[in-house]
Amino acid sequence: MEVEVTELAWLDEEEACPAGELAEQSHFPEGEILELIHCGAIPRHPGRARSAARMAARLRQDFELDLQGVALALTLLRRIDELEGELSRLRVFPP
């Protein structure tokens, strides 16, 4: 079966992203999503929030983590991501 896709949507920073939608996408209860947002594990930036919420769902299921474990893992993974981006830039263009 071959499907030509014409409809797709950017998940960008200007698209609204309420906690209820994040909860539905990640299968987390809305209260837990709000807790993850409140502690900074899920960023308020909508595009990144969706990605983080889905990562939270994968980490919870695959590593059998509780909410605090998910929050810590998300925060550390984002920090690693930022540092790797910075390292990559510095490798190409040293100061």
Binding site: V5, W10, D62, F93
Partner: protein
């Protein structure tokens, strides 16, 4: 149906205890989980590990799996004659069935009919994919062909793997890590439920010339010492075509020269910026005349590049 050796996937013997199974899974998941691992092929390896764990951690699924007997991985096989009666409660064809789907279906049936066919409409699964595109494709847009194998329920409520080719027209404006949602392109819904969505994460492939930072592009621009000192107009490649760039006199290595709006386009219509990062390069061979001129320059200039190190005034003429 092709056999999968779930014990071997986790590096275990058949008689492994539940604790051993959990321990082996956790160890391998830490190594290969696609959200934490940078190992090549980690995603495929993790799928194999997770599939094995989903079966072996569940006593009913493990018993059904063990009863299939031992076969070589990838070997076409049929379950023993009494297997269907004992575990699925019905005769069925095993042609084209994925072992994991079969075991998942049995577990759902045993857990009180939670499988398809009971209850109301069920939304299809969402799926996530990653795709790499070049900087040129991000600049111009790209047509990607994704070959998927999606589990779908047939009319009788049985899971089947259905090959599916999805052509995705990625509009210009993608940046590294940006995500797209393809509505309704995920798993098919059941009993009137809507289809799930397919999420596509775009990765920019490394480029020979450019380095992307969001929608900005950086290019290392080699300059001759006299071009940097005296200023020059040089030709610079950008994804949109070559441009003439004016180099100000006195440009130092590492100086960034900005070409506004010449970076990657953004979905809403603006574009990032293009930065040429100056790098002063020396000729490998100097002619005798060039050496004379350099010696003359050295003799008539009191500039000291190490003045700051020595606490002196380094500005010469």
């Amino acid at each position: 149906m092709k056999f999968k050796d779930y014990y071997a996937s986790l590096g275990l013997e058949r008689g492994a205890s539940d604790a051993d199974i959990k321990k082996a899974y956790r160890k391998l998941a830490h190594k290969y989980h696609p959200d934490v691992s940078k190992e090549p092929g980690a995603e495929a390896r993790f799928k194999e590990i997770a599939e094995a764990y989903q079966t072996l951690k569940d006593p009913e699924k493990r018993a059904a799996y063990d009863h299939l007997g031992k076969h070589a991985p990838g070997e076409e096989f049929r379950p023993p004659p009494d297997w269907s009666q004992q575990y699925s409660g019905r005769e069925q064809s095993f042609e084209g069935i994925d072992l994991a789907d079969l075991l998942a279906e049995l577990a759902a049936r045993h857990s009180g009919g939670a499988g398809r066919g009971a209850g109301g409409p069920i939304r299809g699964e969402d799926y996530e994919l990653r795709a790499g595109i070049s900087i040129e494709q991000a600049f111009e847009g790209a047509l990607l062909e994704l070959n998927l194998s999606m589990p779908e329920y047939d009319a009788a409520g049985r899971l089947r793997r259905v090959p599916k080719t999805v052509k995705v027209r990625v509009p210009k404006g993608a940046a590294d890590g940006q995500r797209l949602r393809l509505s309704g392109m995920g798993g098919r819904g059941f009993a009137g439920g809507p289809a799930g969505d397919l999420y596509l994460t775009i990765g920019l492939l490394p480029h020979r010339l450019y380095h992307a930072d969001g929608h900005d592009l950086l290019l290392e621009l080699p300059l001759a010492p006299w071009e940097a000192a005296l200023g020059a107009t040089v030709e610079v490649p950008t994804p949109g075509g070559k441009v003439q760039l004016k180099i100000p006199a006195g440009t130092a290595s590492g100086n960034k020269l900005r070409l506004s709006g010449r970076g990657l386009p953004q979905p809403k219509g603006n574009s990032g910026d293009f930065y040429a990062v100056a790098r002063i390069v020396m000729p490998k061979v100097w002619s005798a005349r060039a050496r004379e001129l350099l010696q003359e320059l050295a003799a008539t200039t009191d500039f000291s590049p190490r003045a700051e190190l020595l606490g002196e005034d380094g500005h010469g003429s």
